[in-house]
Amino acid sequence: MGKAMKNREGAVMVLGGGIAGIQAALDLTELGFYVYLVEKSPAVGGVMAQLDKTFPTNDCSL
């Protein structure tokens, strides 16, 4: 994600680092923006990281 710079232009804050926040952050970086992904817990991943398998294909979720 590059190194932090002061007062960078075109930065976006994504609040919440669950699957939604992570996806938004990844897409935004790919679209040419700097992202601050702000998560209140010590790790990103959210609830999806707690899931064993996912419906309906029962794929592994990690």
Binding site: R8, E9, G10, V12, G16, I19, Q23, S41, P42, S61
Partner: protein, 937 residues
């Protein structure tokens, strides 16, 4: 990435916000922590593990799970002995990398940002709501979240399902649906939209563990309305999971079991004992929803979720702030992922002017030339991974063993090969010893190869001159009890890798330029939305429509369930599309031919009829498929034969008209007419809501109208549940029917008659309504032609199949082709709009970059050896090898940008003309030979 951070304040306006963030201390230096886990082993204090839903004990100093990102441990101050009582500090000397720092203080940071995306997720239902089910009173009543951790193979019980009370395996289990959802009692009137799915999933997983267990799911409606979700429900029924439509009144402990009291539809009260009860708890609005709203000044809806509008579903009430995921309304993973991409595209459009300004590009030193004939100078680095490897494998002996091998110029051990200082050592050694191949024996290349390849590039080596040996995940961790054999295995694996390394070669970094233009097929709401979003991001598109004019299905709709006018919105949309410089609209058009690959497609579009028919060729970089769908017309229930039988869409049109009799006095609606195992094998997702919006409209025009709805499951998921409740309050009667006892519609003397079995009164009923309205479902518009033209897979139900159902919901298996709208699966307008925005985000990625990078491990054809048999072309699953005439002879050629490196072509080529970068025959054979050469270890 700012973790352990609280959002405190937001000032400024769209394009120029300042956010204040408080970074709470981790008490561990993230750069120094190597995630070895020693500290957790030594920490003496217990800490209830929230990651495992409190089912396990960890320590205050810990990491939630092995794959956590960032892979840095942290100290939970709430239970740390030092932070609470200033004692202990055992962890400080234990940590070999001196990462623990109790002096860390909270740090406030100001972020200058142009826009905000809110994705705070969802909250948990108050345990008070669960008390009537004996939750908290009896240990064998668990929430589905707790049960999920229990069934997880890597969870605290290694996937074993047992009762907490006495450790026995449950023989009879009950799932109770709608706990904390569709429940006015706890002020959650909405449906949480995910619980039916996870309950079925968990029941299926439990059955997999123990086929003998008897499972009953108690439900009001089973809402498996998502794409191909019904099939999973049927699978569950087929393996013996019971579904009982009943409201559970309470759960009471009864001897060592639990007794359920429930009422079935026909009014009977029943009691039944179970060993274990799982509560399918709903999704609450996030705990800090109100706080977020106060800081950002966005509006919330009455359930404290973010308030948005159906035609702009992710825009909050504040400009520059969009929402994604469960905060917008309860939803599952694919929809959250779709919304996130859509939120990214909206943000990208609003900040178009500053795109690319905040991102720095990294510059690498010039690459050292390593020619084929150069002597291999291999450096071998064997990692201790703290004690993860070295506690089992004799690392020094493995390193020495490698040192004796031919071509190994340098060898050493690292405590942590992945640490920042180790990268510096590796770079230094590459230069010092003129290494031209690097072998690292450590953990998995799946996680760490990119890191080390980056180091190689920094040292001026081609990143493919690298080989990794997995002696942790696939050796020390799995052979903990056999250190000698694990050491031998490590040596064997290192020998194989070194042997391969002698043959590895530099591979060129390939990039392909992109034509910054999109082709969008279908100009319904999906295609128009995608085109507009791309236009706002600054990209041109060609929008083709097979019909006379743009608009699609929106032309048939008049109002939404939320009460918004569709036609005026459509008008705005059409005006915007027609007025955009960036959108080239072609009607009466179809795609004739497409050649090329991501970034470089070339398509022939035919438009017009007869003599005016013209063919045009366009170059474009991406394709968005938005071919849509239409109302299914079943040959059933006298549809098309009686004037008194109409579809919901026809009723909607009638209601939008001016006729005095447009809202008849008595209506029978039949749901799933043709759907769900009838003509169509799937649920069409929108029909229940469609019926409800018509019901509310009829009632608005003619409050006296009597309406009966015959349904199988009312699938008014999310906030639409409110409308369902409202309709029932207005006296609309909803009666479920069974699939083997469908209603019958007949006509006699101009009067239409409906005969059905009333499952509430338990008797046969006959009605003579003024009108019968059928909810008929959605079928995709012809997907066969396009599927063949673009090599796109479709599902059994003829919808396009996305690349990954959960994580890549708008991408198709062919790179550079994206899907949205009804062509992907039935869905309402708001979800279509979001999906179109998401497709635009994904399509914009290669357009923004201007080039696509191709992973160098792709196939390549040696033209001299190729005999042009075409076997590879027919076998390639990605259409990435094409036959071309070279000097009059047929020769195969790889389309690098489409190649996924599977190697099927190379394995099948009869003349060994195809080689896989990084996995050549020579390399693999030398690896196999080394496998056999066990003599000298």
């Amino acid at each position: 990435m700012l973790t352990n951070a609280d959002f405190l304040a937001l000032e400024g306006t769209a394009g120029n916000f300042t956010a204040t963030i408080n970074m709470r201390p981790r008490y561990i230096d993230a750069d120094a922590c190597t995630a070895c886990g020693l500290c957790t082993q030594y920490c003496p204090k217990h800490h209830v593990d929230p990651y495992n839903e409190g089912l396990a004990i960890t320590r205050p100093i810990h990491i939630d799970y092995a794959q956590a990102v960032p892979a840095t441990y942290y100290i939970d101050p709430s239970s740390c002995l030092f932070l609470q009582h200033e004692t202990c500090q055992i962890c400080v000397p234990v940590c070999q990398s001196h990462a623990i720092n109790f002096k860390q203080q909270p740090e406030e940071r100001k972020l200058q940002i142009g826009a905000v995306i809110l994705s705070p997720g969802f909250g948990k239902i108050d345990p008070k709501t669960l008390e009537k089910f004996s939750y908290g009173k009896h240990p064998d009543v668990v929430t589905a979240f707790e049960f999920e951790r229990m069934t997880t193979a890597s969870g605290p019980f290694l996937g074993e399902v047992k009762c907490f009370s006495d450790g026995r395996h449950p023989k009879r289990m009950a799932f109770i649906q709608c706990v904390g959802s569709r429940d006015i009692g706890c002020n959650n009137g909405y449906c949480s939209s995910v619980c039916c799915m996870y309950a079925i999933k968990e029941a299926l997983v439990t059955k997999e563990h123990d086929p003998e267990v008897d499972i009953t799911i108690f439900y009001i409606d089973i809402r498996t309305q998502g794409k191909d979700f019904d099939a999973a429900r049927e699978r569950a029924e087929a393996i013996g999971i019971k579904f009982v439509r009943a409201k559970v009144a309470d759960v009471t402990p009864w001897e060592n079991r639990l007794q359920l009291t429930y009422a079935t539809l026909d009014g009977q009260h029943k009691f039944e004992p179970f060993d274990m009860v799982v509560l399918s708890v709903g999704l609450e609005s996030p705990k800090d929803a109100q706080k977020i709203a106060d800081i950002t000044k966005i509006d919330l809806n009455k359930y404290d979720f973010c308030a948005t509008n159906g035609f702009n579903p992710l825009q909050t009430s504040q400009e520059g702030i969009v929402v994604a995921g469960a905060f917008q309304g309860p939803k599952d993973i694919p929809e959250s992922v779709t919304q996130s991409s859509a939120a990214a595209s909206l943000t990208a459009a609003s900040l178009k002017k500053v795109r690319g300004k905040g991102v720095e590009l990294k510059i690498y030193p010039e690459e050292q030339v390593v020619a084929e004939g150069d002597e291999a100078r291999i450096g071998v680095f064997v990692c201790h991974c703290g004690i993860n490897i070295s506690s089992v494998v004799d690392v020094a002996s493995v390193a020495n063993y490698a040192g004796d091998m031919k071509n190994v110029t340098y060898y050493t051990e690292n405590l942590y090969s992945c640490s920042q200082d180790a990268q510096e050592v590796i770079k230094k050694k590459i230069k010092e010893h003129k290494l031209n191949r690097v072998v690292i024996a450590a953990c998995s290349p799946r996680t760490h190869e990119p890191l080390f390849q980056e180091t190689l590039r920094d040292a001026g080596l081609n990143r493919n001159l690298f080989e990794m040996v997995n002696i942790r995940d696939q050796c020390s961790w799995v052979h903990a009890g056999e250190p000698e054999l694990a050491t031998i295995k490590s040596k064997d694996l290192v020998r194989m890798a070194v042997s391969k390394a002698r043959h590895i070669q530099s591979l060129p970094e390939q990039t392909v330029p992109v034509t910054p233009k999109a082709l969008i097929i279908g100009a319904g709401v999906a295609g128009m939305t995608a085109a507009l979003n791309l236009a706002e991001q600054g990209f041109e598109s060609v929008l083709i429509e097979k019909g006379e004019s743009i608009g699609g299905n929106l032309k048939n709709l008049h109002h939404t369930l939320a009460g918004d006018e569709v036609q005026s919105h459509l008008k705005t949309l059409v005006t915007k599309v027609n007025g955009s410089k960036n959108i080239d609209v072609i009607c009466n058009a179809e795609l004739v031919q497409t050649a090329g690959f991501i970034g470089n497609f070339s398509s022939v579009i035919a438009s017009g009829h007869g003599k005016t028919k013209v063919e045009q060729t366009f170059d474009h970089g991406v394709i968005i498929v938005a071919t849509g769908g239409r109302e299914h017309r079943p040959d059933k229930y006298l549809l098309g034969k009686s004037k008194k039988v109409v579809t919901q869409q026809e009723l909607e049109k009638q209601l939008a008209g001016k006729a005095k009799t447009r809202a008849p006095g008595s209506i029978v609606m039949i749901q799933c007419a043709g759907s769900r195992g009838d003509d169509l094998n799937y649920c069409s997702k929108v029909c229940c809501n469609h019926a409800l919006k018509n019901i509310l409209k009829v009632k608005e025009i003619n409050p006296e109208s009597q309406i009966i709805v015959l349904y199988r499951d009312m699938r008014t998921y999310g906030f639409a549940e409110d409308a369902y409740l409202e309709a029932r309050k207005m006296g609309v009667v909803f009666i479920p029917y069974e699939v083997d006892r469908k209603p019958e519609v007949t006509e006699k003397g101009g009067k239409v008659q409906v005969r059905f079995f009333d499952s509430i009164m338990q008797e046969e009923m006959v009605m003579n309504p003024d009108l019968v309205a059928l909810s008929v479902g959605i079928v995709p518009d012809d997907t066969d032609t396009l599927s063949k033209l673009l090599k796109l897979p479709v599902t059994a139900n003829k919808f396009f199949l996305e690349a990954h159902v959960k994580l890549r919901p708008v991408e198709l298996s062919v790179s550079g082709v994206y899907v949205c709208g009804l062509a992907h699966g039935p869905k309402p307008v708001d979800e279509t709009i979001v999906q179109a925005q998401a497709a635009a985000a994904k399509a914009a990625i290669p357009l923004v970059k201007g080039h696509v990078t191709v992973d160098p491990i792709v196939s390549s054809v040696e033209q001299d050896k190729c005999i042009g048999c075409g076997l590879c072309t027919s076998l390639c699953p990605y259409g990435a090898i094409v036959m071309q005439k070279v000097d009059g002879k047929r020769k195969a050629e790889t389309v690098s940008a489409s190649c996924k490196a599977c190697g099927i072509c190379a394995a099948h080529c009869p003349t060994f003309a195809i080689s896989m970068g990084g996995f050549t025959n020579e390399q693999l054979i030398s690896q196999i030979e080394a496998f056999g050469a066990t003599g000298d270890r």
